[in-house]
Subunit: 276 residues, 2 copies
Amino acid sequence: MKTISENRAFGGVQGVYSHSSTACSCEMTFGLYLPEQTEVGPVPILWFLSGLTCTHENAMVKAGAQRWAAEMGIAVVFPDTSPRGEGVANDPAFDLGQGAGFYVNATQEPWAPHFRMWDYVTDELPRLLFNAFPVAEAAQSITGHSMGGHGALTIAMSFPGRFSSVSAFAPICNPAASAWGRPQFSAYLGPDEAGWAAHDATLLMRKRGFDGPMLVDQGTADQFLDKLCPEALAEAMAARRQGGAFRMQKGYDHSYFFVASFMEEHVAFHAGALHA
Amino acid sequence: MKTISENRAFGGVQGVYSHSSTACSCEMTFGLYLPEQTEVGPVPILWFLSGLTCTHENAMVKAGAQRWAAEMGIAVVFPDTSPRGEGVANDPAFDLGQGAGFYVNATQEPWAPHFRMWDYVTDELPRLLFNAFPVAEAAQSITGHSMGGHGALTIAMSFPGRFSSVSAFAPICNPAASAWGRPQFSAYLGPDEAGWAAHDATLLMRKRGFDGPMLVDQGTADQFLDKLCPEALAEAMAARRQGGAFRMQKGYDHSYFFVASFMEEHVAFHAGALHA
């Protein structure tokens, strides 16, 4: 593992590290914020999965999570959103290929050799973190924005018992029925839609739900509402009697200004579950 | 004036606007955060002047000021750091020309026709803001980072009575004696160093000081300490018995992680003066 940078922030350290990934067969970079409470011992960790076009860096510099993570004694990890590099397949579209991994293991060419973000985020990166940093495997929560909200919700529901809480900012709620989902799942997973269901938060909610508290925020002025399909997940949460809140936030759009505006509440929500 | 973007943020609006500048003879862009308290009436305003290489955008998305401005009912304006455009002189160096206006009125060629950031920030932009937005001319404070800290300190000391308080993050404290200052003042203002003194915070502190509270934060791990010369301003503040604090922050560097870490305290510091 290589240290790209370490900056003191809010009494802790905002680090950026890279490592050779087995899952993605390329060098992968991630951000990790460690609050000063790590000087005493391992702390809980919040996963923040980012959206289309983002690297590890966007949320790390724009979402304002560190202030609250520092106060509440929680680490935050910011993984990249896809494999990258010259030898890695790509597409001219911003919503396919590099920067758009959709948190799945691709089975189709040309994506299969590198696009294994599911394995990377649920297996390889956790093992690396718990071996190398003072973060507590027994105290994990997960959140994300847009495509990363999709990732957070689907991963949380797929590993019962692993995450104390889940939240999302403007998640892609129903990718199997959306222009943000159908083209990508076709490309990465192939035409058999049965295989898509494991990666659709609404379908997973209908089938099994999440075994902990859940919080979703969605701006009413979001320019991508037609692709995010919040109504599908809101209906599924209510129908399952899923404990949690689906909040429509008046006037907010899809930007990091929206994410930053509600970050304090999301970190506090997770802290409540993690420190319980 | 053109509206480039408006995003809801922390209950208020983060706007970006551009206008044809008379001072700089080009189109200029600025960011302006208005908290929701503007619905009731004009609010105090905090000027945030940015550093080398920055546009209006860097601090607006990375410094985390909006959260505290919203809570404390203060607007924040983020001017650009220089004139820009194809017809505007430039230099290959990152610390001269576009992105490096140093908040002076250039008198030398090729800079004189456009590089009039002193007039822009102290005269043209204030008039535009107080005419077009619900911000109170009688309640202004000023801060900035690096080159912008230099701008904030020199402007605050040059307009007694205008600013209720001044602060700075890692300011260029003594540009007339620094590699961040001497080459630029030579280029913009010419070889006569007598003309530089009006743009050097340490020299201004020795001569007149600031007629209000003052706060300076400087990281001890800043990679540019040799160019910032904090010891010169700290000595001058103490020698003048200037009311205020010069704080060395252990382990922090020159990045926006440093700025963001202390933004809450700076906004609270200004709010105390502005709402007094």
